[in-house]
Symmetry: C2
Subunit: 373 residues, 2 copies
């Protein structure tokens, strides 16, 4: 058990390297493995908090970069924090905004102190430092917070990966030193690009910080899946067994099924909500694009094996009609289903792990789930 | 009681000329006065059927013109009708599509037989006749159906209004003759543009058809509100007391409060859902535009006097943030509130009528509700 009350991670069972656990936070206990819906702008797109409860969400993400720019941390603090502002009383995780600064913002300059960037909304200049990000996250008040890190792309030279890793580690030290709220769990982030040795070293160095959880960042940025699995395989034993492991930005069903097999506990990704808005829904057989003419008269549910409210109520033909006529209800229903699907998927993995039969579950679902689409 | 089983209208109480009643249909009883949300394309924009039940909707509209073009009546019939297709098990009303043909379609030609028009979606040529519209509506399967009528604009010469009225009456005869389904109530539509004498004549002629309900069409198309009230005042006594009266296309709270005073029972309008999508919400004091900077830090509900789920859960500051960041949840929450507001508004009128105090209610709410915005 980690010595960071009110946070702790109970490892309940292993099946191979897959883990089932309970992550205790000030706003409730999270059963792992767990998929966390992304609520970038203090809203999981198209969903109410009640929808999220009904589809089984245990924790949602907020994005520090977006919320810092709009509506700003002062307003959210005045509203009583992010939980009160968005009316979500279960756990929240905020990322550091680092990934967005490097991918969305007009980057001005990164130096040892931090990053200067321009807002993509109004061009205004802003600076993030490890300390200012911790301060913003304190105003937002999430249960789990991420430190500012240096993100690199794919491919990446080992020398560049080393420089980014070293700065990420120094920024982590500054983040730890600037923390003030004991009711927020700061995770360390394992970087190191696509170099297995560097990743293993990073995992050991992050573990040495003895933080309440460890994140694995900088993956799924264009590298082959095999590279990601190789890294997960290599670092699993270097990570503390009694802390939750969060693989950042991964959300495809087959990737989740593989990553849990390497001992990952927590996931987030905008994929299920983003593709839902284009009419793409998950099924046990793979993704389906409802805009396809093949579904025009298809009176079956989105996924015939799904028991969610949307699948119990509406047909593919109806939801396709909503997308073809640009009705908002289409993205809303597809979002609900996709989030339910992924969360149910992680619940199934949890039950399989608790029952000691994770490998059989994994083989069976991966044999059926088509990834060729 | 009207001799059109399974349809009947029980007049329960009057307060002045305002009426409270029960309209029996195959899918349930509608308490009047009643506001009917508009679900043009087999969906009340952004709402699920469950939302509609929770906000108190008793009946929703579908639009024959839109549903004829997309997805087409054959698909909806194959799905088991509009109720099954959109998963709404309470009453539905379909309009005739006449108004849309005259306002949205690229009109090719109107003659005694019907209208030829081009689809605004793909330019394809289509013909509506009174008979074909009844046939489409039979495929859709709504409880209440409207006949094809001839719509005119404002202003309108009396001679033109007379021609349109005469054709509308001949088309009503053909609609009545082509009806096949006894489980659908065909209403007659009172036209006559803005000429009080013509309107009174039309009301008497429609009443003579002895149909299960009467609609009042062609109003709120640009004329001053005083003209609409003068017409409602003039025709009230010419309409059968034992049939529901439906004022088409009226949805502003103050207009509803006035029209009920002239004996109107049913209303529909896209206004509450359309303005909701732009950030405008109804309050007891009038409309509020949430995009206004004045609400940036306003932690009060959308309407401090409203008890709907949205007002119980979220602040103006939060919903404004959703609109400023183009989040779908903004239109969704504003739509829910506006529909709840109008439906609660008609429920209050009903209670006031049953209590014999409608005039006092009307004076009180109209004194407070600001229409200047």
């Amino acid at each position: 058990m980690s010595a960071h009350p009110p946070f702790s991670f109970e490892l309940q069972a292993r099946s191979g390297r897959a883990r089932a656990g309970l992550f205790h936070t000030p706003h409730g206990v999270i059963e792992t493995p767990c998929f966390m819906p992304v609520g970038t702008q203090a809203t999981v797109r198209a969903m109410t908090p009640e929808d999220l409860r009904r589809l089984g969400a245990q924790i949602v993400l907020g994005n520090t970069f977006h919320l810092y720019l709009r509506p700003g941390p002062a307003l959210i603090r005045a509203a009583g924090g992010l939980h009160a502002f968005m009316a979500w009383d279960r756990p929240i995780l905020t990322d550091s905004g680092g990934f967005q600064v490097f991918s969305l913002a007009h980057l001005r300059k990164v130096d040892e102190e931090g990053v200067v960037f321009r807002s993509p909304f109004d061009g205004g200049e802003h600076r993030f430092t490890p300390e200012s990000v911790i301060e913003i996250e304190a105003a937002l008040g999430a249960d789990v917070i991420m430190p500012l890190d240096v993100c690199v792309g794919y491919p990446c030279e080992t020398a560049d990966a080393r420089l980014a890793l070293e700065r990420t580690m120094r920024w982590l030290s500054r983040s730890v030193a600037s923390r003030r709220r004991d009711d927020q769990a700061l995770f360390g982030i394992v970087q190191g690009a696509f170099d297995v040795a560097l990743r293993r070293e990073a995992a050991a160095r992050v573990a040495a910080f003895d933080l309440p959880g460890v994140a694995i960042g900088g993956l799924s940025v264009g590298e082959p899946h095999a590279v990601m699995y190789e890294i997960l395989d290599a670092i699993a034993d270097a990570l503390p067994a009694d802390r939750p492991r969060y693989l950042m930005g991964i959300g495809a069903p087959h990737n989740l099924a593989q990553a849990v097999g390497y001992g990952v506990d927590l996931f987030d990704c905008a994929l299920p909500t983003r593709v839902a808005r284009t009419g793409v829904v998950f099924t046990r057989d793979g993704r389906v694009n409802l805009r396809n003419r093949a579904f025009a008269e298809d009176m079956r549910p989105l996924d015939p094996d799904c028991a969610c409210e949307v699948c119990r109520t509406f047909s593919r033909a109806y939801v396709r009609h909503l997308f073809k006529t640009d009705e908002m209800l289409g993205p809303r229903l597809a979002t609900f289903h996709n989030l339910h699907f992924l969360i149910h998927w992680t619940q199934e993995m949890r039950e399989a792990i608790l029952g000691g039969r994770f490998n059989a579950w994994q083989r069976s679902v991966l044999a059926r789930y088509a990834t060729s689409w």
